[in-house]
């Protein structure tokens, strides 16, 4: 019987692989809000964000057998799937619309925050870790992660040499890793 939150996720994916629709519904209930928040952060559009999470969960339904627990948690898998689909949409419409890092996030009502206390604690840790990064490293990471810019595009946008951008990305991720490493086990349980 699954004992941790991460175990529960893996058990749900195993049931999805056996075509258990209830397990997919449970996974949606556990992570849909977080993924919807990420898709909305990247796309800035409620309808498109919902389309993305719909695509992601249908992908999970079809591709559950390809999930490899050795390569990361179920949540990390879902996040990668959500981000990549959101970035694809963003790049497709680039030119007519571009999400801005300076765009104020939409006010979130209390009922929108569905994460449990452990999840909210993990979010707080991540925000703190990101906030502690040097501005240039955090900006390089956010431009790449949320706007889907290539390192060349980041170099142009920030008027920074390409090599420096690569270094900032590497250092930023390495520092994030150091900041969150003590909590990774707890994150697995909280996810």
């Amino acid at each position: 019987m699954p004992t941790s939150s991460s175990d529960i996720d893996r058990a749900l994916v195993a049931r999805i692989e056996r075509r258990d629709a209830d397990a997919l519904a449970s996974l949606y209930d556990r992570h849909g809000s977080r993924l919807n928040g990420l898709a909305y952060r990247i796309l800035g559009d409620t309808g498109e964000a919902e389309e993305v999470i719909q695509e992601v969960f249908l992908y999970v339904w079809k591709a559950a057998a390809t999930f490899d627990g050795l390569r990361g948690s179920v949540l990390a898998w879902l996040i990668v799937a959500t981000r990549s689909r959101s970035i694809d949409r963003l790049r497709a419409r680039r030119g007519s619309f571009r999400a801005s890092l300076d765009q104020a996030p939409e006010a979130v009502s209390p009922e929108d925050l569905e994460a449990d206390s452990a999840g909210r604690e993990w979010e707080s840790i991540c925000r703190s870790a990101i906030k502690e990064l040097p501005d240039d490293q955090r900006r390089a990471l956010e431009l790449a992660y949320f706007e889907g810019l290539t390192h060349q595009e980041i170099a142009q946008k920030t008027e920074t040499p390409l090599g420096t951008v690569k270094t900032r990305i590497r250092l930023g991720l390495m520092k994030l890793r150091e900041r969150i490493r003590p909590y990774l086990h707890r994150e697995s349980d909280a996810s």
């Binding site: 057998a65 990361g72 979010e123 990101i130």
Partner: protein
């Protein structure tokens, strides 16, 4: 190639999907060389990148989206795991199964071909036998027709078949003949036409025959070497296989 900051940089870019083809190839070669540091780093940096996502406020995932997802679950088949992840033994089993299936199919195909050839050979043998019999009959007819003593007799129809007509080619030397008939009525089941040769005023069985759908018949008589001379001919309708003496009505009788 030993692990370096360059490889950490490549892993960082990979985690954010920023690698170009050349850089991706460079990292692949390094990982294939067995760098555990980069393998572990890749997993950890993915978690670090996920921290970026976790920093974003959650937004309520609408129940209607959940319902749409569940409603659109078709009978989709699960994707197969990558081929290299399958145990080698399973691949051997699959290969052996394919080979066995191919051999069984080949065996079945050869058996069927052999049966087919046997059937065709039997059919050819039967056709040859029929042709031989037909050739023998034609040879006999030719000898009858070519014999110097051949006689041609005409048979006329009588009630109940007044339109029936026949010609008898008869050789006294061979004591055999054949009949060409027309306008014969179809007979009920269990009945055949029977030819009679009158020898010294008495009818002698010369064999039975059938007419085709058009009422025609080409019939060769029995060997009648026991008779002294053929005085006349008649055809009656008799039970299947014929009778020693005529019992049915005469439908054809010699008119000359």
């Amino acid at each position: 190639m030993p692990h370096s900051n360059r490889h950490e940089e490549l892993v960082s870019l990979q985690v954010l999907s920023l690698l170009g083809p050349e850089e991706a190839g460079e990292l692949d070669r390094h990982l294939e060389a067995g760098c555990r540091v980069c393998e572990d780093l890749s997993v950890e940096l993915k978690q670090s990148a996920a921290a970026l996502a976790a920093s974003v406020p959650a937004r309520r995932a609408p129940p209607r989206v959940r319902e749409k997802i569940l409603a659109s679950l078709g009978p989709a088949r699960p994707l197969e795991r990558p081929a290299q992840a399958k145990p080698r033994s399973l691949l051997w089993v699959a290969a052996a199964a394919v080979l066995l299936a191919a051999l069984l199919f080949d065996d079945w195909r050869l058996r069927r071909e052999r049966e087919d050839l046997s059937g065709r050979a039997a059919d050819l043998a039967s056709r040859i036998e029929k042709k031989d019999a037909e050739l023998a009959r034609r040879d006999l007819r030719a000898r009858v027709l070519e014999s110097e003593d051949v006689r041609l007799l005409f048979l006329g129809g009588k009630d109940p078949q007044p339109r029936a007509r026949a010609k008898v080619f008869w050789s006294e030397k061979a004591k055999r003949g054949f009949v060409v008939a027309a306008n014969l009525e179809p007979l009920p089941a269990g009945r055949q036409y029977q030819l009679w040769v009158f020898d010294k005023g008495k009818p002698v069985d010369a064999g039975v025959f059938d007419a085709d759908e058009a009422g025609r018949a080409l019939f060769e008589s029995k060997d009648l070497s026991a008779i002294a001379a053929a005085e006349n001919f008649a055809v009656t309708v008799e039970p299947q296989g014929g009778v020693p003496q005529p019992t049915g009505p005469i439908v054809l009788i010699g008119v000359s």
